[in-house]
Amino acid sequence: MIQKTASHVICVTNNPDWGPGRDGFEYVDGGPWGVFKRARDLVHGGWRFLAHPLYGNFNPMRHPYRTLLLESPSGGDRSVDMESFSMLEAALESCRAGMAKNYGGESGEAARRDFAKLDCELMRDALNRYCLWAPVIS
């Protein structure tokens, strides 16, 4: 299998730290739930996750940012990719179960900044791999 070049890859995120208007990025508001909902509609349309939606070791509802990486369906085949669908359902389930966390208070802003930075750190390699961040060297 040849290393898949990014046929059509998009990154759905609500994290401002990625910087405005990057090619292949789709900014969504509505917190992690908003990002998952957009990814859900894509997966229903045959898109596939390239990175696990529950990346990082956080319950999604306790981490204000979510960055998801998906690849368009190849050719005309828009059938649902089962692996992506079950991962999506697990992620949505953990969203429903998790407590919406408020990040208010003094430590809130510092925590928010760190969450945003950590979200970028966690996903940079993956975006790098699929040419959404910097040209892939390796």
């Binding site: 070791n57 956080f58 179960a97 990040y103 950590l118 750190e121 966690l122 390699d125």
Partner: protein, 431 residues
């Protein structure tokens, strides 16, 4: 490869003029000498050190890592290869262990830091580190330091302190109370030694999601590994070191990597009712292509070694469940019997789906407990570290830190509470 662990029992800890282990088992530590060593790394604005003994009414928070003081006394290389010393292969000869002591690193790395160790009260029952004599290092970063750099500084400081304690105690003439010997020859020798016993290995998943979620093998970020073989003795000399300080209940501290209970359980039955052939380490990366590649490679290695049974442990929750289930499914399809070790996130009421993935082949699972269970931690007399983060702790929520100093929080915020190496005796059952 043959390794002897020379364990000197530690029965107390206090500051003193020279770092040494007295005859009565009390570890004496020269505070200034220790702090001078740590402050050599210019990336700290401040370093402090404190002591906490089992039974003290003391809370340590936020905990980043826990390390057992060890040093080589005979044989190649030094403990924590590739982190402090060179990358010479370790796992042979003799290693001195301050048995019952631990170095605990503590301090703000990011705003939502976490990890609670209570030395007494309810919290003490849920962490393995309430029974060790803890030397706690508290760090304050230089302003404007980049997270990556500061995380590394804290990690290395913990390892240096642990090596310093062991080296000083050994050089002060501390004698071992007991010696444990671990020997596993080459695979051909193993197969001829126990031809009729079932060949068993341990598939050891390391957390490798990225910043604050990393694990290092001989100093190499395991994210860049493809599954490979490691000799169990190497783990006892700190070949695997934790850089993971998120979701403290099921991160594997360096202490648990040094004292991997699955490895000791397999050694204990080696030659009795199983043939412990070796350890395969694999990772838990973010992209699915990495997960599939590592899983396929790890199971292929097991088949090349003629493995018939695998214990598989994961580290973390959510996406690592996918690696665990992939590894289980592939191994069982290849005819290798598996047992999985995992913790559960079954919600505060215990009624939610525990894992984010499943397969019917996973018919043999050991649970290390539900990490969402809520516990009430009583007020402690003293806190080492900072408490203002508790309400932002994963597992905690606003209001978990009460005015009276008590904390209501999920087990998820207690260091090592549901460690997925099966380090503790906790489990879960269905009512």
């Amino acid at each position: 490869m043959r390794l002897e662990l020379h364990r000197a029992r530690v029965k107390g800890i206090r500051w003193g003029s020279a770092t040494a282990l007295a005859g009565d088992g009390v570890l004496q530590v020269n505070r200034d000498e220790l702090l001078a060593l740590i402050r050599e790394d210019g990336r700290f604005a401040g370093v402090d050190a404190d002591l906490a003994s089992p039974g003290d009414r003391v809370r340590i928070v936020p905990v980043k890592d826990v390390v057992e003081p060890r040093c080589k006394i005979e044989g190649d290389g030094e403990v924590f290869p590739g982190m402090i010393g060179d990358v010479e292969t370790v796992g042979q000869g003799k290693t001195f262990v301050l048995d019952g002591a631990a170095v605990v690193t503590c301090g703000k790395i990011v705003g939502f830091q976490e990890g609670i160790i209570d030395m007494s009260g309810v919290g003490a029952e849920y962490t393995p580190y309430s029974v060790t004599f803890n030397l706690v290092l508290i760090f304050r970063p230089v302003d404007g330091i980049e997270i990556y750099e500061y995380e590394q500084a804290c990690r290395l400081a913990g390892l240096k302190a642990a090596l310093y304690l062991a080296r000083s105690a050994h050089e002060s003439g501390a004698a071992a109370d007991r010696v444990e010997t671990f020997e596993l020859p080459s695979v051909p020798e193993l197969l001829s030694a126990y031809p009729k016993l079932p060949r068993v290995a341990y598939l050891y998943q390391l957390q490798t999601q990225g910043l604050l979620h990393d694990t290092y093998v001989y100093g190499l970020d395991a994210k860049r590994l493809i599954a490979t073989i490691i000799h169990p003795n190497e783990t006892m000399d700190g070949a695997i070191v934790s850089g993971n300080c998120v979701s403290s209940c099921d991160k594997n501290s360096t202490f648990t990597h040094q004292n991997n209970p699955v490895i000791s359980a397999l050694y204990a039955r080696h030659g009795v009712d199983l043939n412990f052939v070796g350890v395969i380490i694999s990772n838990e990366n973010v992209t699915l292509i990495d997960k599939r590649r590592s899983s396929a490679y790890a199971v292929k290695l097991a088949r090349i070694l003629g493995i018939e049974g695998l214990v598989i442990s994961e580290e973390g929750f959510g996406n690592p469940d996918a690696d665990l289930i992939m590894n289980c499914h592939r191994a069982e399809i290849a005819g290798i019997r598996t047992v999985l070790i995992t913790d559960e996130y079954a919600g505060r009421d215990g009624a939610s789906q525990s894992l984010a993935d499943a397969t019917k082949e996973a018919d043999a699972v050991v649970s290390c407990g539900n990490a969402n269970m809520i516990v009430e931690l009583p007020k402690m007399d003293r806190v080492i570290g900072y408490t203002d983060y508790v309400d932002v702790i994963a597992g905690g929520f606003s209001g978990s830190l009460r005015a009276d100093g008590s904390i209501e929080v999920e087990l998820q915020a207690i260091t090592g509470a549901t460690c997925e190496l099966g380090f503790t005796r906790m489990g879960a059952k269905t009512l």
